[in-house]
Amino acid sequence: MNLFEFCYGIIHWLVDLVNNLWYRLGDVLPWYFGDFFTGVGDFAASDSHLSFMTILLESIIIILVALINVLNFLWIFRKISGRILDFYGPYYVGYRIGGWLQNLADGIKLFLKEIIVPTKADKLGFFLAPIIFVGSSLLILSVIPLSENFGLSTNSSGEYVPAGALFALAAFSIAPFAILLAGWSSNNKYTLIGGMRSAAQMMSYEIPLILCAASVFLLAGSFNFVDIVDAQRDIWFFVPMFIGFVVFLVCLIAEVEIVPFDLPEAEAELVEGWTTEYGGMRFGLFYMTTAIRSYAGGALATALFLGGWQGPSLIPDEIWFLIKAYIVYTVFMWLTWSVPRIRIDQMLGLGWRRLLPLAVLNLLIAAVLKTGGWF
């Protein structure tokens, strides 16, 4: 049973439950009311309504699972930084589960804080930026399946969103717009410079990222996550395309803006970068979105290069997928805490002069492999 069938079952059961009421009402009430309620019941039982509600429920479940993973990621982030930097990390809130509840507590605290808007800020942009940022990041998560059975599909055959990988990458690139908007609308020099830096950084690292993904699409011959993962049944793509894998990871680090590439929010020179003026839950959204994007990045790397949910069947597929994503994220964290921050011009130089040629080389390797008939 896949997620679609599961959700369809639930929705069907619910609709049946409620339709009893509608039809009963339709029987009891006079004709002009009764027809209306019978019509409501017929609409509820129609295929289009059922599949729409199913997809809605599916997305809610997927987003919820993703957000729980994001909480895990934040917890891992704090725990690993504690291990590396000689402190405990979260400890007391949720003592028995290793301080896991600390993030919830922080979230509640941020919710209760006052939202402060600078007087001279552009109110609409200031308000919209976090929404666009968090929304576009959640969009990425909605199309990434955790297994063949757990993903957003539109019919019972398990056919996932066509070109889901392409959609994920496209959603990944909306963020610079939100960041630029946040930086500009805050009306602050630090945020402006941070926003500019962020836009420059994301645009220059987007290209090698997508080129590496393109080589994967080339080998797999599809934009669909299921097909891509299926194509890695014999050999995971990071083996033939190791260069591409490394370039992809580096670009991901730049895209999610963590050290060494956290220049837009380099706290030493730009205070908090483009998030300087944000407080309360709006800041919390930005903070959470960083974790969401880290999770999305780890999931993308897993699906495209690390064989997705493939692994010995002792453990369920979904858990395999998550384990791999967590490992990718742990590597990110390990890197983050052990290197200094790079400078913006050096970073752009790295992106354009090193990573882009490597990505093109990787695309060439993929083309050779494909034409050679190995894939």
Binding site: E267, V271, V339, P340, R341, I344, Q346
Partner: protein, 360 residues
């Protein structure tokens, strides 16, 4: 982007204190800079005119939170020069040892702040942890953690605590291991080198002309070290090298401080070994003659000088303090211009700011 002024400070993560650096940027390139100081001015020179000579020692401690021992030591040297007090040799060795411990602690705090500026959090926490070891040692010696109030006019407050020598040697041995680790962490990091090599170059002539002293000048190739050039205390009897570097960039400043920490370890060992038995304090006169006294020491940040004028009473008539970082900061615009905005952090971090002594 048009040119604009950016205020980095008074409350900004870069400043490590309370001061304001106004930088004029063209895009991200600095075209002009202007430090503004004085936010922490407490009028210590004026306060000292109302206190008796021994009462000034704790005030002198408050000049710099990073290296308070050198300042109280400097004050005692100055007052001894004014009053013609001969300090027992044991006290001199104890002071030299403690100053070098303080120098390591100060340099470690600098290293921590510098790593934090560069975004290298692991360097920050590790250096802070190792600084704590030396703070503990000095706490065992003097009784408090940051402001020691340990030297006296005519010696030190009390003798070494029991087993201090053993603890100190153990700490120094530990520190030498850790220093190797730091050099692995920093020098082997490609990004660290990218951020440091060739950034913030201060030429030797400019440095001397602008009055820059201490590690910042020695990194430019001038081997000016008061401990060698004009020795005070018992430094002539101790064998050590002056750490210099010829490049004058941020990496050179980092390198000089690291080398200095190695030298400090060696000086502490020698001081412990050569320390004679005997008295550790003589009683200083209550009133100073109507004369002047001058003390100069090599602070972790440069050349620290105090000039005291006595008028025959038990209070100084005038006390002037020369803060090394105050003069070094005036050279900052010269170093900053032409580099990127992100380099401000590295360059100013490399100068090792301490606002307590800067603003006095």
């Amino acid at each position: 982007m048009a040119e604009m002024w950016i205020n980095m400070g008074p409350q900004h993560p870069m400043t490590h204190g309370l001061w304001n650096l106004r930088v004029k940027v063209d895009g991200e390139t600095i075209v002009d800079a202007e430090p503004e100081v004085g936010y922490l001015h407490r009028g210590i020179e004026k306060i000292c005119e109302g206190l008796t000579y021994p009462q000034i020692i704790p005030i002198a401690d408050r000049l710099c939170y990073g290296s308070s021992f050198t300042w109280s030591h400097l004050y005692c040297l100055t007052a001894e020069d004014l009053m013609d007090v001969e300090v027992p040799e044991r006290a001199e060795y104890i002071r030299v040892m403690a100053i070098e411990m303080q120098r390591i602690a100060s340099h470690l705090m600098w290293l921590a702040a510098y790593a934090g500026d560069l975004g290298l959090s692991v360097g920050f926490t590790n250096a802070m942890r190792d600084r704590e070891v030396f703070i503990d040692l000095l706490q065992g010696l003097a009784g408090s953690r940051l402001t020691y109030n340990y030297p006296r006019i005519g010696g030190v407050a009390h003798d070494l605590p029991p087993n201090f020598e053993r603890d100190a040697l153990r700490t120094v041995r530990y520190m030498e291991q850790r220093l190797k680790e730091y050099e692995d962490l920093f020098d082997n990091s490609k990004i660290f080198m990218m951020r440091n090599v060739g950034i913030g170059i201060l030429r030797k002539e400019d440095g001397i002309d602008l009055g820059v002293t201490g590690p910042s000048l020695r990194a430019s190739g001038a081997s000016y070290d008061l401990r060698k050039d004009m020795p005070y205390s018992v430094y002539p009897e101790i064998d050590f090298n002056v750490a210099t570097h010829k490049d004058g960039d941020c990496y050179a400043r980092y390198r000089v401080r690291m080398d200095e920490m190695w030298e400090c370890c060696s000086i502490i060992r020698q001081a412990l070994k050569k320390m004679p038995k005997g008295k550790w304090r003589v009683v200083a006169p209550r009133n100073a003659p109507a004369s002047t006294g001058l003390g100069r020491v090599e602070d972790p940040r440069g050349e620290a000088v105090m000039y005291v004028v006595g008028d025959g009473s038990d209070k100084p008539y005038r006390l002037k303090i020369r803060s090394p970082i105050f003069v070094t900061l005036s050279a900052a615009p010269k170093i900053l211009v032409g580099y990127k905005l992100a380099d401000v952090v590295v360059i100013m971090g490399g100068l090792d700011m301490c606002l307590g002594e800067n603003d006095r």
